[in-house]
Amino acid sequence: MGVTQIRMKVNGVTESLDVEPWASLLDTLRERLGLTGTKKGCDQGACGACTVLADGVRINACLALAVQYDGSEITTVEGVDHPLQQAFVRHDGFQCGYCTPGQICSAIGMLAEHAAGMPSAVGASGLTEDEIRERMSGNLCRCGAYNGILDAIKEVL
């Protein structure tokens, strides 16, 4: 049960890594590459704190095995330069901040999905507040900063 060599472009930098097949993408980013911006909340796909973008698509890095993302382009919060970040500060889109990297990556993925025509269970024509709440429901905030998060996302629309 050896290691597998993978290559990923992480925040624009090509990384060649020997990984154990049972290593999650989340642990690989945090422990091997030192990218601790991506947070481990539940480690079971229930909270969204580990959300990153894989080839532009938001995923939960805790349920992703790193070996499955060989050849992918990964963006973590460290690689994000987006008006959402300032908007989160302006609108108090956090209290403790632990969920924030996941919220930011998720919101970027959400905006891209909406622009590409991805439907949601709400089914409104534009990004209404109900739409944003539904489309961001995979990211929990136990401080309850949802209103600030909503305002921050609305500001960048």
Binding site: P21, P119, S120
Partner: protein, 326 residues
Amino acid sequence: MRPFAYVRAADVDEAVRAVAGEPGAKFLGGGTNLVDLMREGIERPATVVDVTALPLAAVDDLPDGGLRIGALVRNSALAADPRVHARYPMVSQALLAGASPQLRNMATVGGNLLQRTRCPYFYDAAAACNKREPGAGCDALGGFTRGHAILGVSESCIAAHPSDLCVALAALDAVVEVRGVGGTRRIPMAEFHRLPGDTPHVETALAPDELVTAVELPAVPVAARSRYRKVRDRASYAFALVSVAAALEVRDGVVADVRLALGGVGAKPWRARAAEELLAGGPADEDAFARAAEAELEPATVRPGNAFKTRLARATIVATLRELSG
């Protein structure tokens, strides 16, 4: 997570051979359920055969107007497919009602069919569970049963099947195409999942070496007018307490065609055939909907924690059919 050997399969036959030759080997798709279960120590495969590189991610038209959905189509991609929207709205709605956007971007259709129950006693290695350890007993029976099934259950297991998509697939008579070392076969959705009986660890009709390669949706004209309605403890990102997949065509006040299936209440995705038979050819009114719902739920086995589901399921069936008949 327990160490395992990792194989990335390049074609379907290689994947099937890799699993057939290794007792305890598992296919890995999007990982949203299997990786979680492996981390909890509930699933302990010695070998994991990654099938995500296989060419099974297309949605193709069938000559009869149906659709062939590759097993590796992601939930988000299927939900967004305009053909699914037009011909089978209940499928899109079921997918969009399930999990979170991140999980839908990872999860595959094949994996959805094979996801395991969310019974907390199954997930808790310290609890007794006949599904996890045959013969061990069932701590759910006298436990917290708010999420458990009331139809198709046994004294060995009352776990509910967790899928939303499978409820719609059951209503539509989908066919599951699988490939094993012995070749390809097609399994009707109604026969794909097994009731627990006294072998709750046997959950599907699949042999260990068989890989789900596609799901076929036959042409179901009535499904163009269909709905998936899900009732849960919060507005989004939660498993169903009760869900209803329904399609209805009413002509001159009479039910000309109907499909009905239930989620959250069944030990497997629950096709409501008793209700369908009562409805067909009869009046499309509230009383008929209620009688059909009651007939379907009559054999329910409830416990104090989930007795509310009978009434909730009845109300959800009636409300969904009423909406479709309007």
